[in-house]
């Protein structure tokens, strides 16, 4: 690769490091728990969207069913913890591995589908998962599961008194998701994915193993999303099928990337930083009395961005990304 590209990648890494360092200090000064809550959610949705972006952005396989992996992560951790007393850390890892395996098992038949047939298959599969959890009595069925407080420590991943530990975990997750993307962008896989996205037939004829590269993207993406799901379960300490696996979760994962720039390194995080606080604020100021004003603002923003800046907002900040955001 040319030195220019190498230099810009090094700059990305330095900028990310500085941003993470600044972000780490912020909650020491901002002690309001409502604001801290928004910061945790912003980082979490940023990380999730970054993970979604690997499969849907870089590899071009638009999934609107990632709520499945989010839910599997949340349920694996919670069930292992409440039923067998297994520490959430193992549940988190287990949920990630299960999700990655399921993503590949589902990818095997699904990746033969193209365009809308694929998108609808992802929605339908997540919906089947939702319905199964809805009817699974042992896993709490529609009532869901309340996670009992059994401590206040990193070991048990429960912090009833402070949001700070959650914040640092969400920050770490966002950093990991970003770094994995950064690393993959310049790897063999990254180039394969972009080739698959642009023209799968041409990629195939040039020797890209299209099918395997889609499977790889699905596995990485699902693993990271499941980690996010099990974090969310610990954070809100109550899960039920609708709130954890509903279609809106899949949509929420896609939107920050759409807003910031699909298939770009910085797009999902940028999108989350704009979208999540905006959603939370409109919800708390207009949601209660205004009945649906939050939805109108939200939907209007999506229409405006997708029509006015289909390549996402990220190009506004750094012109050289315009090419990459194609």
């Amino acid at each position: 690769m040319d030195t220019n590209f190498a230099r810009s990648r090094r700059r990305d890494l330095i900028v990310a490091f500085c941003l993470a360092a600044v972000a780490a200090v912020v909650p020491l000064f901002v002690k309001d728990s409502y604001v801290q809550n928004i910061m945790v959610l912003t980082l979490m949705w940023g990380a999730l969207s970054q993970s979604w972006n690997i499969l849907s952005g870089y590899c071009g396989q638009i999934s609107l069913g990632h709520a499945l992996y989010f839910g599997i992560g949340a349920y694996t951790t919670t069930l292992l913890f409440t039923k067998f007393g297994v520490l959430p850390w193992f549940g988190m890892l287990g949920g990630g591995v299960i999700s990655a395996v399921i993503a590949m098992a589902l990818g095997y038949p699904c990746f033969r589908l193209r365009g809308h047939y694929f998108v609808i298959a992802t929605i339908v599969i997540a919906e089947i998962g939702l319905l199964l959890f809805h009817n699974w009595d042992w896993a709490g069925a529609a009532m869901g599961i309340e996670i009992p407080v059994r401590g206040d420590s990193w070991l048990k991943f429960q912090f009833p008194r402070s949001k700070l530990p959650y914040f640092y975990f969400a920050l770490a997750l966002a950093c990991v998701a970003w770094f994995v993307t950064w690393w993959l962008e310049d790897s063999k896989w990254g180039y394969w994915w972009r080739a698959v996205k642009d023209n799968p037939d041409a990629a195939e004829s040039l020797g890209v193993v299209v099918f395997n590269s889609k499977m790889g993207a699905a596995a990485v993406s699902a693993f990271l999303v499941a980690i996010g799901g099990s974090f969310y379960a610990q954070f809100v300490s109550y899960i039920d099928p609708e709130s954890i696996m509903g279609f809106h979760i899949s949509l929420l994962m896609a939107l920050p990337a759409v807003l910031g720039g699909i298939g770009t390194l910085w797009g999902p995080m940028l999108g989350a930083v704009i979208l999540i606080p905006l959603t939370e604020l409109t919800r708390s100021y207009a949601g209660g009395s205004g009945r649906g004003v939050d939805l109108i603002v939200y939907g209007g923003l999506i229409i405006a961005i997708s029509l006015a800046r289909p390549q996402g907002l990220v190009g506004l900040f750094s012109p050289r990304r315009k090419e990459a955001a194609r």
Binding site: V124, G299, I303
Partner: protein, 292 residues
């Protein structure tokens, strides 16, 4: 389970399936015309149901009489949605596929928000309409009259659509545009006008379905969501863009739903539909009647 109950549920499944076909055909029409999936399709159904409800409440117009009015209103709405949003979405130079998915998703969310704002999230229903709650016995099988009439409306609509596409100038322009949008411009057909009318027609069809649905289904801001997914499955099952496919897909979905409801707990009845969709596209990735 007796043979009678099986026939009974398959019969109601068939009626519901024809209605599913009517709900879905507008989606298939628009897709066939311009390769765009309208992800706000369920919300089109939702506003059609509300329109029927309010015509009933304020003007005492029975849903059956309101149906043509609602279809006409939806025609205008669909054409406007095309002219204001979709027209620009299909022109996107970057991320074209994403843009058309998410711009119509955005429209869906706005419409849901507007419905919540003006109509509140309360569940509403049309009470004491001409057909509501009535059943009729055919050869010992009891059929709900609203669904029966809905199925007849669906068959009539499909028949009319067939004649319309094959026998009228606009229908031919529609067909020609879907074959080759570039070439029709050369013979003086305004592509944008055809697209706008196509969107109008697609929305009018779902408007018709909404008016019938309002007779026997609850009306609330999120009502479109569940039917939208069934409509996507119906259309994809038949093969995107195939109008006949939507008809057949609807019947299959209705029958599969009825069968699943007999075998599994009622809350799982949608699983059957979804499983059949996956099975079909895994075997035939273009749906049953899809070409391309």
């Amino acid at each position: 389970m007796t043979a009678e109950t099986i026939i009974q549920s398959l019969a109601s499944g068939l009626l519901m399936g024809l209605l599913y076909g009517l709900i879905a055909v507008g989606l298939a029409l628009i897709f066939g015309l311009m390769d765009v999936v309208n992800f706000a399709h369920g919300e089109f159904l939702m506003i059609a149901m509300y329109a029927t409800f309010f015509l009933f409440v304020f003007f005492a117009i029975d849903p059956l009489l309101a149906a043509p009015l609602v279809a006409a209103a939806l025609f205008v709405f669909g054409a406007v949605a095309y002219l204001l949003i979709v027209r620009f979405a299909v022109r996107a130079k970057a991320n074209a596929g994403m843009v058309q998915i998410f711009s119509t998703f955005g429209l869906a969310i706005v419409m849901r928000g507007v419905a919540q704002f003006f109509f509140t999230p309360d569940y509403r229903s049309v009470t004491h309409s001409w057909l509501g709650g009535k059943t009729v016995s055919v050869f010992g099988i009891f059929l709900p009259v609203p669904q029966l009439v809905g199925a007849l409306v669906a068959i009539a609509a499909f028949g009319a659509l067939y004649l319309f596409i094959n026998r009228t100038d606009f229908g031919r322009a529609l067909e020609a545009t879907r074959e080759d949008a570039g070439a029709v411009a050369l013979v003086g057909i305004d592509k944008n006008k055809v697209f706008a009318l196509g969107w109008g027609l697609g929305a009018a069809l779902v408007g018709l379905a909404g008016a019938v649905m309002a007779i026997f289904f609850y009306i609330y801001p999120d009502v479109g969501a569940s039917f939208a997914l069934i409509a996507y499955v119906t259309v994809a099952l038949g093969g995107f863009g195939s109008v006949f496919g939507a008809f057949a897909g609807g019947i299959i979905v209705g029958l599969v739903e009825a069968t699943t409801a007999m075998l599994l707990p009622p809350s799982l009845k949608a699983v059957g539909i979804y499983a059949v969709y996956l099975l079909v596209v895994f075997i035939r990735p273009r749906g049953l009647f899809g070409s391309m």
